[in-house]
């Protein structure tokens, strides 16, 4: 099992795609949050720390795409064939892939949210603006954000295993998060509110403690719901993957 995990981690380290995506995510977070914090005008009554920290929410979104790519790249380049020749037990291969993504994305989440939190707290305090967050709040937000990043990668991996087509799977996850859930959220009444609160995007924001007041739920239930999404998709992807004929 360690050798498979090793192999999967090496896969992540030996193409430019993953470096580019990780670097892109961190760079965007740093630039946007630094500019936003330095130049933004904050109302005294608002929640300036949290609202700028929400920029780090880019990390889970990138992780979602990275998760999709991590799985679908095997089909796109046909490397699934040599991978399965070395490890014909598909659940083991997927398990190793999942473990590698969870580890790597936890790291991405910690860096993304940690750097963002540092910048926001530093710049705001230098501007003399009260962040409205205690040290415990910051830590909870960073850890929650990192876990959200990790679980989004698992969601992406599950979708990738289900759909196989790289471009298609990326479009599906992004459309889901940015378009479909937003459209469903417009529906007035309980359903729309429910989507905003308990949809994939909503629980991610709540877990990272950066959701707006109206739709925020506690971190623990948010984390459990997101974990549920990840579990369902990963298990569905695994089952489909085990049944599937791999013919290049």
């Amino acid at each position: 099992m360690t050798r498979l995990l090793d192999s999967e981690l090496l896969k992540l380290r030996t193409t430019r795609t993953f470096y580019a995506l990780v670097a892109g995510a961190v760079a965007l977070i740093v630039i946007i949050s630094a500019l936003g914090t330095a130049l933004g005008s904050f109302k005294a009554t608002g929640d300036p720390g949290r609202s700028v920290l929400s920029v780090a929410g880019l990390a889970p979104l990138f992780a979602l795409v990275i998760g999709v790519i991590g799985m679908t790249t095997e089909f796109r380049h046909g490397t699934i064939t040599p991978s399965l020749l070395v490890e014909p037990v598909r659940t083991r291969l997927l398990g190793a892939k999942l473990a590698a993504q969870l580890l790597a994305r936890l790291l991405l989440g910690l860096v993304g949210f940690g750097v963002c939190a540092g910048l926001v707290a530093g710049i705001l305090s230098s501007r003399g603006i009260h962040t409205g967050m205690s040290t415990g709040d910051w830590i909870a937000a960073v850890i929650g954000g990192a876990v959200a990043t990790m679980l989004y990668a698992a969601v992406g991996l599950g979708v990738g295993a289900l759909l196989r087509n790289q471009a298609g799977a990326i479009v599906v996850v992004l459309a889901w998060v940015f378009v479909i859930e937003n459209l469903l959220g417009i529906i007035p009444g309980g359903f729309g509110d429910g989507i905003k609160r308990y949809g994939l995007a909503g629980v991610g924001r709540s877990l990272a403690a950066s959701a707006g007041h109206g739709t925020r739920i506690d971190q623990l239930p948010a984390g459990l719901i997101l974990l549920g999404y990840a579990l369902v998709l990963v298990i569905a992807g695994t089952i489909v993957m085990c049944q599937r004929d791999v013919s290049s």
Binding site: R3, L4, D6, S7, L10, K11, T14, T15, R16, T17, T73, H77, G78, T79, I80, T81, P82, S83, L84, L85, V86, E87, P88, V89, T91, R92, L94, G95, L98, A99, L102, A140, I143, V147, M150, A154, Q219, L220, G223, L224, L227, A230, L231, V234, I235, T238, C242, Q243, D245, V246, S247, S248
Partner: protein
């Protein structure tokens, strides 16, 4: 912070659940719900006496049990060939005929691409000798399409078996079933009596090249091999060693997307050899290779087979195989058309002697008068089907005939292939 703990516990739960499912599937397979664990029988026939011997093979225990089909067959079935194929050329002509579970199409050669039974085996002694690759009654349907239909064959150590058929004949599907990538609709394909996914150490048992394109375009050749080496538990030094062997060292650190087709094919070959496997399965390995590359591949396969490996190599180009393979299996529309040692096929389908010269007309008359089958081949050439070069030479000498050429007609294996697969005229 309680929720963090809970989250970690549940993540661990995912992993355990995933692996539990895996183990559950494993035990179910071991318990014998698949076709792999059922005892199977093959009938071996002594070609001289007609004695028949039924061989029961229990895949679960690996035991072979030899029973005569009828009383008295014990005595008659003792003359089955005593050598493992490929190790003793002198014995190749005496190969025992083996009948399959499925009837052979009428008019095709009797198959011999199969394990030979030694005298010791015929008397019931147990030995470890068995076919390395064994495909039994394999059928695969994709929806309405039948890709492979009731296909059976086997490959033993030290042999190169050419797996031939036109594009779309079902070669790749068969190989993918053998390698656990595609699930068969019926029948089984095993290596050392086990399904691929059940092999204890697949990379060290079987090396396979299915599609030379199976490389991430953005990863270097060296890293491609290292990734696979890690997964297989092979030392990374082995990757460099193999790059040297397939002559890719110079390009090893470039991104594989920039490789030529031939380079990718060789990289795939290196990947197949990572675990130094005893069995090699190669699907169209000559694809994209230039003539030098094909020659290199041929010598390479020869040397690998010389080390006692079993090699199953598919191709749709007969010429690639004709100088490499010991045996050929020809399939068409998913069905086996012919299974025979290549040498035997060459002899059987002899193209006759071609004679050219100003007096060829007279020679034709003389030979015809002698009862030979002679055909005019245009431009003063004739083809004599049933006379050896020496026999024709004697007639030429006796009558003082002038000839400019007397040669065996180029092996018409290509024609045989077309004839067998019905692929003549137009691409299939």
């Amino acid at each position: 912070m309680l929720w963090v703990l809970v989250a970690i516990v549940v993540v661990v739960g995912i992993v355990v659940a995933v692996f539990g499912w895996d183990r559950y599937r494993g035990t179910r397979a071991a318990a014998g719900d698949g076709t792999g664990a059922e005892p199977t029988a093959e009938v071996f026939v002594d070609p001289d006496t007609g004695g028949r011997l039924r061989v029961w093979y229990d895949r679960g225990t690996g035991r072979r049990d030899y029973r005569p089909e009828q009383p008295g067959d014990e005595g008659r079935a003792t003359d089955l060939v005593a050598v493992e194929s490929g190790t003793d050329q002198a014995d190749r002509g005496r190969e025992a005929d083996v009948s399959y579970g499925s009837p052979r199409p009428a008019g095709t050669a009797r198959s011999t691409v199969v394990p030979k039974v030694s005298t010791a085996l015929a008397s019931g002694a147990e030995t470890g000798m068995s076919a390395t690759i064994e495909v039994t009654g394999l059928t695969k349907r994709f929806g309405e399409t039948v890709a492979v239909h009731d296909l059976s064959f086997s490959v033993t150590a030290g042999r190169i078996v050419g797996f031939l058929g036109p594009n779309g004949a079902g070669k790749s599907t068969t190989l993918r079933v053998l390698l656990g990538l595609v699930r068969p609709t019926a029948g089984s394909a095993t290596i050392d009596g086990r399904r691929y996914a059940e092999l204890a150490d697949p990379a060290r048992t079987v090396g396979a090249l299915l599609d030379g394109d199976d490389v991430h375009a953005g990863r270097s050749g060296r890293n491609h091999l290292r990734v696979l080496a890690r997964a297989a538990g092979v030392a990374p030094g082995r990757a460099d060693e193999l790059l040297e062997l397939v002559e890719l060292t110079g390009a090893a650190d470039r991104r594989a997307g920039g490789y030529s087709m031939g380079m990718r094919q060789r990289l795939g070959l290196a990947a197949a050899l990572l675990g130094d496997p005893r069995v090699l399965v190669l699907d169209e390995p000559a694809n994209g290779l230039d003539p030098q590359g094909i020659r290199w591949l041929r010598d390479f396969l020869r040397s690998l087979a010389g080390e006692g490996r079993a090699i199953l190599v598919s191709s749709h180009v007969l010429a690639e195989i004709s100088q490499t393979a010991d045996d050929v299996i020809v399939i068409n529309h998913g069905r086996s058309v012919l299974q025979a040692p290549l040498a035997e096929l060459m002899v059987q389908r002899n193209g006759g002697m071609r004679v050219t010269g100003p007096d060829s007309g007279r020679l034709a008359e003389l030979l015809s008068a002698d009862g030979a089958q002679v055909e005019a081949a245009g431009e003063g050439a004739i083809v004599v089907a049933d006379r050896t070069g020496e026999q024709i030479g004697r007639v030429i000498a006796a009558h003082g005939i002038v000839v400019s050429e007397l040669a065996p007609r180029a092996a018409s294996l290509e024609d045989v292939f077309f004839e067998l697969t019905g692929a003549e005229g137009g691409p299939s």
